[in-house]
Homo-oligomer: 295 residues x 2
């Protein structure tokens, strides 16, 4: 007779609710969203059973609380839950893309990390934001990173891991700092670069050039279509990691720029193209997609 | 009883041969490749009818000559054809990704532009290089840019345009300088950036981070899997245009870097993310694919 409280009924939260429902993980699911219309829509698409008017009351009867809100709202939401139910033992988990700032923010706000809060990051998303885009299969075959600390309750980690496995995901436990550095390199920097690249085509002069764009442009800029408010939040939260990776990229691009602007033999260019292809092929082995093309 | 001489029997040349054969554009197709094994393989996959041992002799009997070689080899190839058959009126066309340097290179080498040489750039490619990847449908629905000058013979332009239309492509005539600037922005810069980005993951330390890479990484780096030798050639040939676009991107990225490294409100970041999405959506309308995702 477990009961889930879902705080934040957008794409990720509503998808978890649908997947959990299909897997029979909870007897009932109640949703709270700061935007009442979003909670209503999650109810209408059948992701949740009822709507909670406030966190404080709903949390009293919940056995598990999923905090599926933008990065900047995670710490205040966890604090609100913890303060409303200091004596009960529900498990708490989130879905934020950046983990270390959540841990330090909670320690600063509460004086300690709540033992039964399990930090999570599911590597999943979809083109349509909001509960309308919710998909019970969103986490199937995808990795969910858990970044507990030594203060995190072992039973809570196992419980939350079982939730994600029940949704079809692969669970991996890593340190929060390693996680944040890794996603800065593999996910956050590409989002920043794709946006900065695509922004050049927002002017009338730039838009005229889109007639010359092909499939290479399409794939390279796909992530520039992501939600700007969410990504401002993510990039700001992981600012140090993103800046460190960006500095490396700026160094490599500047060296290539100077070589292209000179009459030098394109040695740096050729070795970068070869290294880039080698790394891409190493990824493809795991990723199972086809590389290359002239675009 | 038209006869096509194909110089360069790789992916693009062999695909044109297959498409032309299917459309019945030529009575026979003969191939020359500086690498005899490549010409052999084009013969084996059924793209061509015979192999020419040398350009000079094969060009005497050809009504059309397609020069499908890497950018740095286009001018020498056209010069070889023109010098071997000064008095005959075959049409010549190429498939290089950069056009203005071909025009200036030919003018420098021959003292004039050959009137029946029609510069072309088909916006098509595939993951598998060489004649094995050849596909008669490669140009269907794709744009082929023609960049003739005032010195180019009108009948030759019409003839070559008909060839590409026969292969299912849309033909667009543009100025070479505009073409080169536009593809520097939409195609060549993304290839350079994707390679420089992916090269960071070629080390052992970098490769370990690929466990954290998802679909956003996959799409952003797809073009980093392209042929390094071909792309060194393309990027070097269009060096000025690529450097101009790269300078703009470096400026935008440096401004974002400084904002992320400071405690400033992320105003530049948010407006870049919004502009990037707006431009991406403008492209999507034409491109017909789905944007976004959290990746």
């Amino acid at each position: 007779v477990a009961r889930l409280l879902l705080i934040g009924a957008g794409l990720i939260g509503a998808s978890f609710a649908l997947a959990a429902r299909r897997a029979g993980l909870f007897a009932s699911i109640v949703a709270y969203d700061v935007d009442a219309a979003v909670a209503d829509r999650a109810l209408r698409v059948g992701a949740v059973d009822e709507i909670a008017p406030a966190i404080a009351t709903a949390t009293q009867t919940a056995d598990a609380v999923l905090i599926a809100v933008p990065p900047s709202q995670i710490v205040p939401s966890v604090v609100a839950v913890v303060q409303a139910r200091a004596d009960r033992d529900a498990v708490l988990f989130d879905v934020g893309s950046v983990k270390a700032p959540v841990l330090s923010g909670l320690t600063a706000a509460l004086g300690r990390l709540p033992a039964r809060f399990v930090p999570c990051h599911p590597m999943a998303g979809a083109a349509v934001a909001g509960p309308e885009g919710a998909d019970p299969a969103l986490f199937e075959g995808r990795t969910v990173f858990l970044t507990p600390t030594s203060a995190t309750d072992r039973a809570a980690i196992a419980q939350v891991g079982d939730y994600w496995s029940g949704c079809g995901a692969r669970v991996r436990i890593v340190e929060a700092e390693l996680h944040d550095r890794a996603v800065a390199a593999t996910s956050h920097l590409p989002h920043l670069v794709a946006a900065a690249f695509a922004a050049r085509f927002a002017s009338d002069e730039g838009r005229a050039l889109l007639d010359f764009a092909g499939p290479g442009f399409r794939d390279f800029t796909r992530i520039a279509g992501s939600d700007p408010a969410l990504w401002r939040d993510i990039l700001t939260a992981n600012g140090d990691g993103v800046v460190a990776e960006l500095d490396g990229l700026l160094r490599r691009l500047t060296a290539l720029r100077d070589e292209l602007a000179s009459t030098a033999v394109a040695a740096e260019l050729e070795s970068t193209l070869r290294e880039g292809r080698r790394a891409r092929q190493a990824f493809s082995v795991g990723g199972g997609d086809e590389p290359g093309g002239r675009g």
